[in-house]
Amino acid sequence: MSLREDCLPIHERILPIAARLVPAARRPEWRREWQAEFWQLRHRDGKRKTNPKEALSLSHGLLADAAWLRVDWVRVSAQGSASGCLWVLAVYCLLCAVVELVFVGSWHSFARTLAGHFTGGFVFVAVPGVFASIATYPLRPLRCDEKDLPHASRLSARLLSRVSARTRWNLFLSAKIGLTLALVFLFSMVTCLPIRAAIGTRADWLELLMWAVLVTTGLRWALLNQEQRCQRCLRTLSQPIRVGPPSRNFLDWSGTELACADGHGLLHVAEMQGSWCWYDKWVELDASFQGFFTA
């Protein structure tokens, strides 16, 4: 068996497997590039021979390259997305819970401590906080009523595309507030662990104070974050641009415009709120604007 026959199967077997890792949009170009690289290995110095060790080494590069493209694609897709936001909050909650569990020692003690702290003080701080925040939150009217979600290829996206924009918006807001409150609760408990070990039950007062501050801050963040999201894809808006001269506030509109990176719409944030604009104004863009946003 020649060396070439030995090595070709490595390339032939790994290339299709690695290609599945590469995002679909970049796959044809990526395959073409790697076929050229493998050709170079086989025909180096005019010889039509391949060292199996070198072929294996290049296959390692092939896999590393495909993995890097996939990881980068996931990073870019998750950046500013609703699911990315919920995942980050959930991971932080889990980390705090693990620290607490390690400190108390057993599942039983962990559950008892959580229940004790939750009913013993947290609900008295969180419930009025949630009520006050929601009641004073200027609900921006949702303009987007379309049911189609962009890139609805995955199962979760297809399921979400069946619900209205308003339901998606409210589901995300509720999940974010729930996770923020859970994080605040767990983070305060973990932070007060060493203090409680030092000064005993007097640490409860400090914990209560911390809850009050963190619940207010956390809820404020959750609501502000919601205001700066696209109504259709729930991705964080970007590219802030100043519009209008501030000196003409009484005659003309002045403020900041934020855009959805996928071109779904623009958010006008007035510099001064007036009787004619109590909340930020969302302007939906139709498909004719897509060319300005696609790379």
Binding site: E29, W39, Q40, L41, L58, A64, W68
Partner: protein
């Protein structure tokens, strides 16, 4: 990736690009860096705007009876970063030899 914080491997890769080595396999051979470092580093440099890529003309590749290659070239920002890296790692010029002939 900040130009002031380029690793030695990436600096070597950029040096190779500045000397006219243009595609992954060629860069891998001249720098001696493993393929698992070279290809992801090229992608990262391209994403960060230090490198741009283009396909070789089909006719040129056809004349040499081989598939067209994807060539990588330093951008203006890449050239500036490479100059900074050369100042930081003065021995780079000795590690990567000048390109004399076009690779077949």
């Amino acid at each position: 990736m900040s130009p002031g914080r380029l690793s030695h491997s990436v600096a070597m890769l950029m040096k190779a690009l500045s000397l006219g080595y243009q595609f992954g396999f060629e860069i891998m051979e001249v720098t001696g860096l493993p393929s698992g470092t070279v290809y992801p580093a090229l992608r990262r440099l391209e994403r960060d705007g230090f490198v741009t890529s283009h396909w070789e003309a089909e006719e040129e590749a056809f004349e040499e009876q081989r598939p067209a290659r994807r060539y990588y070239v330093l951008t203006r920002a890449g050239k500036e970063a490479e100059a900074m890296a050369t100042t930081r790692y003065p021995l780079l010029a000795r590690l990567v030899p000048e390109k004399l002939v076009k690779t077949q």
